[in-house]
């Protein structure tokens, strides 16, 4: 990123919302630590991820790649800012002054800006008070760098000096993804197709601290092995943010063909989706999820008109979260590009919702009629659903990704 990155050996992790969670704060911090460790597990180098009186630090124990670490920290929900930090031992004020002058010389070579020194003295035994240190260091910097000016109200740069067991200095804040650490808000089950919307929906809910599991409906031979692999890839991309997840793969072919045989074709998609919701909910219940997540957005396709959504929603007892419900396609695409799922999503493999789609599917399904059509499935459908659930394949993502 910058030529001087090599001087940073540690990062201070700033978190926004978890700071205000009162007594539960430690739960949030622990979840954050866990997610940070997960994010750094395959990064070059060894790191100590620890908390110390309301601060979370990532300290490098070995050589590391600055850009790589920052890139991976930016996957961790709950991080508001990543501050590359210089740490040194307390060898007296004069030594600190020299080190800070050196820091400014290296990290802010542009030289021409306003600043303010902001000291926090956690080590109350330190012989100088915060304000003294602020004034002393400010003066020293002005003397050393004639182009600098002090502005205590709206400085261009804050120099943060933390006097703890050691002394921490930082001035740059790289924005993190925000949100809350995954694992702090329960679990939900994502209906993951190969499309653009569902990975984005999963990402959005995970951003609020929710742990994710996913369900995919596979319909061989109508959908290919590659379509399934694409979904596994998407799950792995989402798991970079959402952490490890279980991907439940349901063989949906028999159910789909049975509906095809028994029900009117223009109702096929809507009835199919009702069964997908039922199956997803059964798995969600079994695995401790508290809700379902879909990538539905009003009016995008026939099965996502408001009447259709109401009709599929009717079969669920759990809350169904539809975080992109009000988004235009382009808004969703923008996020998909940001989180790097877009390129994978647009690979052209057929998904099971489209293979038998009627030329003119119902867009305003009548609940009574749909229920009556489903009556025709009575004979076998419960058994088929049970079989589909019991014989599902469960992949652990990212580990089981072939």
């Amino acid at each position: 990123m910058f030529a001087h990155d090599s001087i940073f050996r540690a990062f201070l992790i700033k978190y926004a919302e978890i700071g205000i969670k009162g007594k539960n704060r430690y739960l949030f911090e622990d979840a954050l630590l866990k997610q940070i460790r997960f994010a750094l597990r395959e990064v070059e180098g060894e790191f100590l991820v620890r908390k110390e009186s309301g601060r979370v630090y990532v300290e490098a124990k070995t050589e590391f790649d600055f850009d790589e670490v920052v890139e991976h920290l930016r996957y961790v929900f709950g991080i508001a800012g990543i501050c590359p930090m210089v740490q040194f031992d307390d060898n007296g004020y004069e030594d600190m002054k020299e080190k800070i002058i050196e820091y400014v010389r290296m990290v802010h070579p542009e030289g021409d800006f306003t600043f303010k020194v902001q000291t926090k003295r956690a080590n109350k035994k330190y012989p100088m008070e915060s304000n003294e240190i602020n004034a002393g260091l400010g003066e020293a910097l002005l003397e050393e760098f004639p182009a600098l000016r002090v502005d205590v109200h709206e400085p261009d740069v804050f120099f943060y000096v933390e006097v703890r067991e050691r002394i921490n200095v930082y001035s740059k804040i790289i924005p993190g993804p925000g949100g809350m650490p995954v694992g702090t808000s329960g679990k939900a089950t994502l209906l993951l197709s190969g499309g653009i919307d569902s990975p984005v929906a999963g990402w959005m809910v995970a951003k609020r601290g929710v742990k994710i599991d996913a369900v995919y409906f596979h319909a061989p031979p109508y959908t290919s092995e590659r379509a399934k692999e694409k979904v596994v890839d998407l799950a792995a991309l989402v798991s970079r943010y959402a952490g490890p997840m279980n991907l439940h793969i349901i063989n949906f072919t028999d159910i789909q063909l049975y509906i095809y045989d028994q029900c009117p074709h223009e109702e096929l998609t809507i009835i199919m989706r009702r069964y997908m919701m039922r199956i997803a909910e059964a798995i969600a219940e079994e695995t401790g999820s508290l809700g379902l997540i879909t990538g539905e957005s009003i009016g995008q396709v026939a099965s996502q008109t408001l009447p259709s959504l109401a009709c599929t929603n009717e079969v669920c007892h759990m809350p169904v979260f539809r975080p992109v419900i009000g988004f235009d396609k382009q808004d969703i695409v923008d996020i998909a590009q940001k989180i790097d799922t877009f390129e994978t999503s647009i690979q052209p493999f057929e998904d099971c919702c489209t293979i038998f789609v009627a030329k003119h599917p119902v867009t305003k399904p009548n609940l009574k009629i749909i229920r009556r059509s489903e009556e025709k499935l009575k004979e076998k459908i419960d058994e088929m659903v049970k079989t589909a659930i019991e014989s599902r394949e469960i992949l652990r993502i990212p580990e089981d990704r072939a």
């Binding site: 031979p221 109508y222 290919s224 092995e225 095809y260 074709h265 052209p348 038998f356």
Partner: protein
């Protein structure tokens, strides 16, 4: 049971190919450009391979340039010949049913300012010779035509084409994409007036990532890859010794007892075509006799989507291809099938089955039997 009927996509290697590939990786792993003994040893493998390939073409080893495969051979032949001869003219000719590694190169040269004529084919997939003859003029520097079409197995009369070209303009170079033909036909470039000929290793039970371009001695062509000057500067880059040795071995073995191998393949084809034509709503595209390639059969299945059928067959251990495997990830409708007049509703319902020396009667019968089972079920469920 497993039936691999996708040998136009790629083939299983010969045992002897595996052995020589392993040997050149684990024992004789030198770089032919090295001056020491290990280098000389490795060079020996390359020399042997060039000799083996040259022998199958009645050519000289010095006329063989090893490449990374069919695509590179085609690129090198077309770009290399067009550029080398651009002072003589900027008109180049190809057909409408070429493989992407030819077709897209012509598209690229067209953008570079070359004039390109695309000659259509008749219903059997054969180049329209009268149109070819009419298209060649004094500024035509290259004609590139495929020997065997990869989708329907039609065979162009390359000898006749060579004759027409050279009669009209002796300076026009003739390139043949023989990637589906090498190993199936005895090709003699000199007799057929071929100046440049592309082939690939893995279509004849050799390794992937290797191929060759035959360049008739004295042919004016410039390289497209630059570097350390290997292969007389025509194709720089450390020799892919294992690949080249494997290719040489494959060439040797495929042309051993060749007539018998091909006779068996035609027998299989005949039987397969009969089995297919006995199924309801199934038709075979293009020619099917010995006037077509011995290893390719293109079959249309009414009322079934080719991709669905492909996956249903896969589920039973049968491997075939929809369109040509190289472009199957882009579900564009096949230009070749359209070119040979396959009915519109069958374009998306066509599978290619292709055989090799390893294909057995049992595999073919098994395939027909599974199709008979699957087709009625698949036809029942379709998009409304």
């Amino acid at each position: 049971m497993e039936a691999y009927l996708d040998n136009s996509a790629t083939t299983k290697a010969f045992e002897s190919v595996k052995d020589i590939v392993v040997k050149t990786m684990m024992e004789d792993y030198g770089n032919p450009s090295s001056l020491h003994r290990k280098g000389v040893e490795a060079e020996h493998y390359v020399k042997k391979a060039a000799e083996a390939v040259a022998k199958t073409l009645k050519a000289a080893p010095s006329e063989i340039i090893f490449t990374s495969g069919g695509t590179e051979s085609n690129n090198m032949a077309i770009i290399g010949a067009a550029r080398a001869n651009r002072r003589a003219g900027k008109h180049i000719i190809t057909s409408t049913i070429e493989h992407a590694s030819v077709y897209n190169v012509f598209g690229y040269l067209e953008e570079e300012g070359y004039r390109v004529t695309y000659i259509p084919v008749d219903e059997s997939g054969h180049l329209k010779l009268d149109q070819l003859e009419a298209a060649i003029d004094s500024g035509t520097t290259l004609v590139s035509v495929m020997y065997v079409n990869n989708e329907i197995g039609s065979v162009n009369p390359v000898g006749r084409i060579g004759e027409i070209i050279k009669k009209k303009n002796p300076r026009t170079l003739f390139h043949v994409d023989a990637i589906q033909a090498y190993g199936k036909y005895r090709i003699c470039p000199k007799r057929e007036s071929i100046d440049l000929l592309s082939a690939s290793g893995h279509k004849i039970h050799g390794p992937k990532g290797v191929g060759f371009l035959y360049v008739k001695s004295g042919t004016k062509i410039v390289p497209v890859v630059f570097g350390g000057g290997q292969q007389k500067g025509m194709r720089s880059g450390t020799h892919n010794v294992s690949g080249i040795a494997g290719m040489g071995e494959a060439a040797r073995e495929i042309y051993e007892n060749h007539e018998e191998k091909i006779r068996v393949m035609y027998e299989l084809k005949k039987q397969f075509v009969e089995l297919m034509e006995g199924l309801e709503g199934v038709s075979v595209n293009g020619l099917t006799g010995e006037d077509s390639a011995p290893h390719v059969v293109s079959v249309g299945f009414e009322g079934v989507k080719s991709e669905v059928l492909l996956h249903a067959l896969e589920d039973r251990g049968i491997y075939a291809s929809s369109g040509s495997a190289c472009s199957s990830n882009h579900p564009a409708v096949s230009g070749t099938l359209k070119g040979v007049g396959v009915r519109r509703e069958l374009l998306d319902s066509t599978l290619r089955f292709s055989f090799s020396v390893f294909t057995t009667k049992e595999e073919i019968q098994y395939c027909a039997q599974v199709l008979e089972e699957l087709l009625p079920v698949l036809r029942r469920y379709r998009r409304m």
